[in-house]
Structures are given as structure tokens and as C-alpha cells.
């Protein structure tokens, strides 16, 4: 393995190997931190759903399962393209790397666009928590507000991570275009991939927890 990239070795490391292992471990610790961060939201969700399952089911009933499913597919696909991007970097193939990164970014943007339509629909239906909140089913009424608070907090935090992810992706893409990455040095790509997959995993939990729990809810009790 040639070291055409000795410039990539920071002065305080002894070898690229050490540097790579350090950055991988660092990224994983960061993700563990993210797990706990989202964990607080999941904790809140768990408690309030346990306390008022009906209101959650009713609230979930009002989410758009088609769009949720579409976004799930989009995001998992973007995870695949991201994995392929890392693969391309590992095998020093620059064009596919650029292609896969671009695809990942496009899918990420698609996700956000869909999310935007979902959010605006919620706004129109007065499902955004606050003074305008109004839940059409009288038996549930204001009880559904906490569900929607959590819906916005969780998907909003997730979307924020997507936005940050896309910004980082742009920066990685720039590096790829300039040919900074190949089999001897690709840990930025790899670590970004870890982040992207993590965001995907969060959605893997959010989708069933928010969209799917109300499918056999038929109003009333």
C-alpha cells in the first residue's frame, strides 16, 4: 500500500494506521453520545405512550403512512449508496465514489422535501402543538397534543441531523472531486458513512413508532 498521502498523517500520530483507528473510535464514541441524546426523546415517548396509548394511536392515525414509507425506502436506499461510496473509496475508484456520494446527497434531499410536505400538511390540519392545535376527534382532543409534540421533536431532531449530514456530505464530496481519497486514506468518507447510517437507524425506529401504531385505531374506544 503506497503512502502517497503522507500529508494526511497528522504530526502527533506515529502512523496512518494509528490515526485511522483513533478516528474510527472517536466517531463511534460520538455516535454513542448521539444514542444517548436521542435516548432522552425515546424515553419521553415511551413513558407518554405507555400512559396514554389511545391518544398516541389516534395521533398516529393522522400521520401519512405512504409518505412515511416512502421516506423509509429513500433513507435505506441512501444508506446503501453511502455504503457503496465507502466501498468505492476503499477500492480507490474515484468516479463511482463521486457518483455514490452524489446519489446519497440527492436521496437525503428527497427525504427532506417529503418531510417538508408532511410538516406543511400538519400545519394546515392544526396538528402543530400550540395555541392553534386542534384534534378533530372529540374523545381524544387535547390529549393528542403530546403525541404531536413528540412527533415534531423527534422527527425535527432527526431532520436537523439530516441537514447537518448533507452539509458534511458536500464537504466530503469536494474532497472526493479533488481526489483526496483512495485505498490508503479514506477515513473521512468512512466516518461520515457511520454518521449517515446512524441517522438512518434513528429513522428505522421512528417510522414504526410514529406512523404505524395507529393503523387499527378506529376512533372511539
Amino acid at each position: 500500500m503506497s503512502h502517497g498521502h503522507s500529508s494526511a498523517l497528522a504530526h502527533h500520530f506515529d502512523s496512518l494506521e494509528q490515526q485511522r483507528e483513533a478516528s474510527t473510535l472517536g466517531m463511534w464514541l460520538f455516535l454513542v453520545q448521539e444514542v444517548m441524546f436521542f435516548g432522552g426523546l425515546f424515553m419521553t415517548y415511551m413513558l407518554y405512550r405507555w400512559r396514554d396509548p389511545e391518544a398516541f394511536a389516534a395521533g398516529s392515525h393522522d400521520l401519512n403512512i405512504t409518505l412515511g414509507l416512502l421516506n423509509t425506502v429513500v433513507l435505506i436506499a441512501s444508506s446503501l449508496t453511502m455504503a457503496m461510496a465507502v466501498h468505492s473509496a476503499q477500492t480507490s475508484r474515484r468516479r463511482p465514489l463521486i457518483g455514490y456520494l452524489t446519489a446519497t446527497g440527492v436521496l437525503g434531499l428527497a427525504f427532506l422535501v417529503v418531510k417538508y410536505f408532511e410538516y406543511s400538511a400538519k400545519w394546515e390540519h392544526h396538528l402543530v402543538p400550540g395555541p392553534l392545535f386542534h384534534f378533530s376527534e372529540p374523545a381524544i382532543g387535547g390529549r393528542a397534543e403530546v403525541f404531536f409534540s413528540l412527533y415534531f421533536a423527534m422527527t425535527g431532531m432527526h431532520a436537523l441531523h439530516m441537514v447537518i449530514g448533507i452539509a458534511l456530505l458536500a464537504w466530503i464530496l469536494r474532497g472526493a472531486v479533488r481526489g483526496r481519497f483512495d485505498a490508503s486514506y479514506y477515513n473521512p468518507v468512512e466516518n461520515f458513512g457511520l454518521y449517515w447510517h446512524f441517522v438512518d437507524i434513528v429513522w428505522i425506529f421512528l417510522f414504526p413508532m410514529l406512523y404505524l401504531i395507529g393503523r387499527h385505531y378506529h376512533g372511539g374506544a
Binding site: 396514554d52 389511545e54 372529540p138 374523545a139 382532543g141 390529549r143 372511539g220 374506544a221
Partner: protein, 323 residues
Amino acid sequence: MPFKIPFMPEQASSMAGEVDALTLYLVAMASFFTVLVAAMVIYFAIRYRRRSPDEVGGSFDNSALLEITWTVIPVLIVLFTFVWGARVAFRLYRPPADAVQYYVTGKQWMWKTQHPTGQREINELHVPLGQPVKLLMTSEDVIHSFFVPAFRVKADVLPGRYTSLWFTPTKTGRFHLFCAEYCGAEHSRMIGWVTVMEPEEYQAWLASVPTQGSPTAAGERLFAQLACHTCHQDAAGAKGPALGGLYGRPVALADGRTVLADESYLRESILNPAAKVVAGYEAVMPSFQGQVSEEGILELINYVKSLPAGGSASVAAASEGAL
């Protein structure tokens, strides 16, 4: 076991002595370790003080025996401490069966109390000597905490929920009542007095305070005022279930769950009736959120609790579990 130790507040409840005994044990335990370690450190420090600038220490630097000793002994001690503390706590949590229920509402920044016979007070609570007292408490705004040092009792008072505490006064006199949970600007002025009186004196005092009747009576008035009876009448075909004998009984809900009809359930039924719909009924009861004060709700609950089962004469004996 009454005893007087400096820096201990007065012991004026049946539990105060037990808490103080625990305290004395804790102080003794801590003193033992503090003296032991201090003696060890001081003795070694002097005995092995450095005598020449280039002297170094010895090489005796581990001993499994010592490590086991000073792990196992503290473990045993803390387990013992835990058990003692938990026993005292459980006694502090479980009111005696004959406790009489008083009502407390916390509000920025005052304590509103009400006697079972209906008298209301602000920042004061008069109770008879020797009578176990249980307080059922809630808050109208933020979290407060009801604290009477002389009784060694404290419990947070939360919005949207009931909490309770109990004590049996063993000494007449006036005792500090504090709000112990920070609740805003006048937190330190949310204070008052608990006055313990001889039972006869207490009766005389009660008689001297004008009252609009017991909470139950007030509840009855509210019940009529809010037109609850239009739906809740003990008649076949009524829109709402009969409420007689409801308190303390499990209720079957429309969604198949079962709930115990305690104060919290009654409260929720009034403020958020749709949350738990009784099996066999439509969810048509409107929410009374915002139409009744916390005290009003307490009175309504009291009234509902007083309704005899199936219209029969005996008032359902309040089978109050512990807190």
C-alpha cells in the same frame, strides 16, 4: 422516645423520635470512620515523616486481606443502614388506618388547608393532639413541598396529581411549616404554622371558625351547580354511571383495562373524562377543566366519595391504602 439533643428540632410527632434515632446512629457510624481514618492518617504522617531529602517510601503497597476487610465491612454497614432507613421510611409513608384526612392546596405562594369539617385556613393548620392526620395535597401551579421539621415529614406537592403525608402530633404548640421546594420569588415566604391543640380546645376552635359546611357539603352544592346530577343519577337509563360506592372499587373501562377508583382517577374523570371511559357508556361527559378550582375538585371528590354504594345508607368506608 423523647430526648433532647442540641441542634435537633423539637420532636413533636410520633415519628420524630424514630428519625432522630436513625440520625444518631448515622452520626455515630460516621464519627467512627472519620476518627478511624483521621487517626490513621495523622499517626502515619507523623511516624513516617520525611527525614532526609532523598528518602523514598517502602514497597509494601498492596494486601488482598486489607482490601477485602475494608470492602466487606463497609458493605455490611451500608446494607444495615439501608434496611434501617427503609423501615423508617415505610412507616413514614403508610398512614395508620384511623388517620383523618385534611386537604392541602399549594399555590404561589401560600398554603391553603381545609379541615374534614370544612373550615379553611391559609398558611395555618390546626390539628388535635394525638390524632393521626393524613394530608391529601395538590398544587395549583408549580411544585411545592410541605415540610414540618418538628414532625420530620416532607412531601412534594405537585400540579395535576395528589400526594400525601401523615403525622400524629405528640406535643401541643406551634410548629414551623415551610415550603421546601423552590417555587419562585416568594418561596421563602411560603411559610406558616401548624398548631397542635388539645382535642377539646381544637373542637372549640373549630366551632369558632365560620364554615360553609364540610367539603362534602360544598361538593354537593358544586355537584348541583355544575349540573353533574343531570347525567349521574341513580336511575336506569341515565347518561352517566351511578357514582355511589365508586371510591376504592375497581372500574372496568371500555378498552378492557381496569382502574382503581382512587382520588387521582376521580380527578381525571372530572378534568379529562375521555381518558378513561367506563365500559358500557358513551364518552359524552364534557371536561370540567378550567371550570372548577383545585379546591372545588377536591370537594367534588369528597362528595363522590361520600356517596353510599347502591343508594344504601352506609357511607363507603374509605379504604384508603397507604399514600
